[in-house]
Symmetry: C2
Subunit: 256 residues, 2 copies
């Protein structure tokens, strides 16, 4: 059974992509909504939270982990692999790097949380694969709250997008990596601002390509689909159902 | 010794007001930056976090508590009083209510986090004191991230302020309560949007009036001033120092 986790509801974009390809897949999802967001926090805290989340999923039967959070992918993969050496662990960063470097990209833009950008993880990984690349990274701390406010096609959001994307336009990037699972919800505004010549790499699609290749066996199972959140509010089920475009039941779990 | 806590750095607006009045006060401050924000979370989580925070401060010698967080003030005061019946506990809500109702206000607007507005705590308290009042509440989830992004005098922030304040202008409120400790940093934009006839109640000032009246003895002490945060990043000390307009040292603590 797949275990999928994120700091909150953002990772549901990965679940949505999984369900599009394998509607009967079995998985347990954890959104750490009681401690969200991770992307504004420090390395030590992010690693501690990632280990708590992985333990929760493994205790519930996960035999492979999808880290559906770029911030965790940027900081905590070595700690997770050390803690669980026998469990396959997929991060969202590696497939996005692969998708970006296999295209004809030469100037790449990264959009991410403050923590992801500060980590330099994308830059290091891109340069390791292709040292000729130019990389420009921008932290976009307002994107997550704008998405959570539901202002997806809004003049305010359009202004914020223009502000954050200005350095990428100035650097004339040809490829943009959406380095946070919330950002695909702003993809049309970002594409509009960047223009149609720029390729946009969407992490949920990239990671599911990778998982489908490696673990097709995990996907055609008995459709045991669990959604756990560490903070549950009256609106959590309807917000999660809205993101997934299907009705789901949610449960409350404790981590840490 | 005073114990002061908030979900993060917002409560430093209360510390700043304390230091303005009593530069030699002794206090221990806790910002729960590892789990911030509280204002997007549910009642059970908020109460649990408030009890953790209070325990941390009492363990470090606090003999009175200032809850410098409106979200905690809206949900967790009964739980805190039950857990610590012998300790004076000041919330930020009560003094703001007192300041608002002692003026000639008749139509009051409340700005707060999603959790504070959902609680209805301000409305209930205002109506208990003066049943003739009309109250309009608006959740402003983007204000905290805008303040933390540092866009205090920015066109984007101006647009968001106009959007959130529209229902208050429509209701022709004569008084606005800034129901979150981050919001005083947007006070000039809010005042500009509302116009000069509207009174703005600033919680840090209101709560320090109350504390000075009740516990003047606590303030002239040996200047033991401690700043603890549950998540510490390279920039935490400089951000906190910037908010307080003085250099401070910060320490890392664990709660929960």
């Amino acid at each position: 059974m797949l275990g999928i986790f994120d700091s909150g509801i953002g990772g549901l974009t990965v679940v949505k992509e999984l369900l599009r390809r394998a509607p009967d897949a079995s998985f347990v999802y954890l959104g750490d909504t009681a401690r969200t967001p991770y992307g504004t926090k420090g390395e030590e805290t992010i690693i501690r939270y990632a280990l708590d989340d992985a333990k929760f999923l493994i205790d519930r039967g996960a035999t492979a982990l999808i880290v559906a959070c770029n911030t965790v992918s940027a900081y905590a993969i070595p700690a997770l692999k050390k803690a669980y050496p026998a469990i396959p662990i997929f991060d969202v960063l590696t497939p996005a790097i692969r998708a970006a470097t296999s295209s004809s990209a030469s100037r790449i833009g990264i959009l991410g949380t403050s923590a992801t950008v500060r980590s330099g993880a994308y830059e290091r990984a891109l340069k390791t694969v292709r040292s000729d690349l130019t990389v420009t990274s921008v932290a976009c701390p307002l994107f997550v709250p704008l998405v959570e406010e539901g202002w997806l096609h809004d003049d305010v959001t359009r202004m914020v997008v223009a502000r954050y994307l200005a350095p990428l336009k100035e650097a004339k990037v040809d490829t943009v990596i959406l380095g946070c699972t919330h950002y695909p919800l702003l993809q049309s505004l970002i594409a509009e601002e960047m223009g149609s010549d720029v390729t946009i790499i969407d992490s949920p699609k990239a990671i599911m390509d990778e998982v489908m290749d490696a673990h097709a066996d995990l996907l055609n199972t008995n459709k045991d689909q669990q959604f756990w959140f560490t903070d549950l509010q009256p609106a959590t089920a309807s917000i999660a159902s809205h993101w997934l475009e299907r009705e789901i039941e949610v449960r409350k779990g404790e981590v840490g």
